[in-house]
Symmetry: C2
Subunit: 359 residues, 2 copies
């Protein structure tokens, strides 16, 4: 029996997507092969590859002057690639709202000046700092945010006004969760394994004027966006099966009403869970209310032993991966697109029962 | 119906492995989740991850002073990582026996002096050059070869005598095809998608004394072997499903007699195909006989139109991906471990029929 999986990533995928993948595992369409076995230079695979990119364009409404790239190495590789490719003048602005935002900031220092515009570290990243655009460097190469903070359960509800400075957003844990206006960004990146598919592929959506020719530099070839763009992300063998799976998930998103419908469902799920926390005497959510994430809901009892008992009890009840990130402890329920309302309801029911039994 | 797939990579996988993966797609073991959905920090995934590394160690007989790392980005990323990590004195020796060996050589020039010891470019890489160890740099950081040349169908049948200089081998297209003495190498790398699993993961087997601490340098964190070694290849989310699939393939190799048995079967398949070519008046193999690859068998008719007709006819008969690499044309049959003897026999039968009909 399948469990309700609240993992922050890799994370739950739609069961019907998994069933479709299983049914096509030994023979995809009329090809007589698994997608996994297809030459990446074959027409059959090219169709899978291009279909995934086209679906992402359609579902997110990506304008024509943006390119979609498939890259390996996770968001961590983007912590390197963004400054390596985008730092022309050698300076960029960063808002540090959590561990990954902090890592993006510190890695960028290898490539130039990485200004810290604001941080919420003073209160364990439990809020999104208010930003004064007067403090932004009008001449920076880019302005970086981590839009949804997976570990701490916060999200930017409005975007910084960066003017002509390209906004770069790590959307790893909120991509596809609601509609976005891609034209407001210079570059969006997201590892697939939260809301889009399995690990092993990262999506980069980049405004084409930001793609620089670095072929005369000593930068690693595999870290240059232009190499991916020039070759339709087929410079070398891409992670073909991961891309195929993302295509299946995107098809599922499209067939279920697209991002507008995802948003409605995600708001409903989040409301059920936050209401349960707010109405509880045992559980509390440490996040500044207006900054609460739709995707990652953190909560604590205030007692570490009780937290552990809750996590173990929930697991026994088929509600798994509810432990908070190893750096912060407590509980975290990641409720991505593929988590059904029933899963959140089951969690809330378990929380009530646990509270009654452990009051 | 499944075809016989002669793709050079991604390539055919054992049908029973694919069936097992399909049967576990929605629920792996008693976990109630797909492997794809598992948190990479969960005990369930850790067992999958460690099992793959342990099986590789067992099947290849990897000594204890070597580490097994799982890295993204394909062999191309190793063209960067090998010189970046291993060039201490800033010089290395290269033998260029094909396109990928050439790329490894040219990328290394970014990091130091990359000496060209020998090349077989003069005869379209149709042979492995004889090497005079007196010409090797005794003080080099490493000596690099591409052990099996996928595009041209050649293979090193003996290793260069590099003394104390660590031998680095790109084994992408010959790993697991026969037993090897790992202790003769400093570092072995191989992308998975030829003989080990799906694309998206590359195996690095490195002698532990070659792992340098580069944390104080400006080199990209994700390109430092030590970061992978220090974190059991779990510094960030690894390509979990690709690693799981490699584990299933390694289990299959083990259950089918290990590398000694693979070698016997691979020699049998190669003999059937090379004999058919050598006994044909239409087909010929351009490779110097002693240097012929067991894994990638190239052949031509000498007439481009006839080559195309052959490839199209074979495809119609269920023998697919027989076109040579786009850079060389002609035909190439990749006959990795998962290609059954029956597939090679079917190809040979088709070749005979084609020759009769087109004499």
């Amino acid at each position: 029996m399948r469990v309700y999986n609240f993992s922050a990533g890799p994370a739950v995928l739609p069961e019907e997507v998994l069933k479709k993948a299983a049914s096509e595992m030994t023979e995809y369409g009329g090809s007589g092969q698994s997608v996994m076995e297809m030459s990446h230079r074959s027409k059959e695979y090219e169709a899978v590859h291009d279909n995934c990119a086209a679906l992402l364009r359609e579902v997110m409404g990506i304008p024509d002057n943006y390119k979609v790239l498939f890259i390996q190495g996770g968001a961590h590789m983007q912590f390197e690639m963004v400054p390596l490719n985008l730092m022309v003048k050698g300076k960029a602005d960063f808002v540090v709202t959590g561990q990954w935002a902090g890592k993006a900031h510190s890695e960028a220092k290898k490539y130039g000046t990485a200004n810290l515009i604001a941080s919420s570290k003073d209160k364990t990243f439990s809020y999104i700092p208010e930003l004064d655009s007067a403090s932004f460097d009008k001449d920076a190469d880019f302005f970086h945010i981590c839009e949804n903070n997976t570990i701490f359960g916060t999200k930017f509800k409005s975007l910084p006004e960066t003017g002509n400075v390209p906004l770069v957003s790590d959307m790893s844990s909120c991509i596809l969760s609601e509609p976005v206006d891609v034209s407001k960004y210079g570059l969006i990146y997201a590892c697939a394994q939260k809301n889009m598919g399995p690990s092993g592929v990262t999506i980069v959506i980049i405004r084409e004027d930001l793609i620089r020719d670095l072929s005369d530099t000593k930068f690693p070839t595999m870290l240059q966006y232009k190499v991916y763009d020039d070759n339709n992300s087929l410079y070398n063998t891409p992670p073909t099966y991961s891309i195929y799976m993302c295509g299946l998930v995107l098809e599922w998103v499209k067939n279920n009403g697209g991002l507008a419908a995802m948003k409605v469902k995600n708001e409903k799920k989040a409301a059920i869970l936050y209401d349960a926390i707010d109405n509880s005497k045992m559980f509390s959510n440490p996040v500044n209310k207006p900054d609460r994430s739709l995707m990652n809901v953190t909560f604590v009892t205030g007692n570490e032993d009780l937290d552990k008992k809750f996590i173990a009890g929930a697991k026994a009840a088929g509600l798994v991966n509810l432990g908070g990130h190893r750096s912060v402890g407590g509980m975290r329920a990641s409720i991505y697109n593929a988590m059904p309302v029933e899963g959140v309801q089951a969690l809330v029911d378990f929380m009530k029962k646990f509270e009654e039994e452990n009051a």
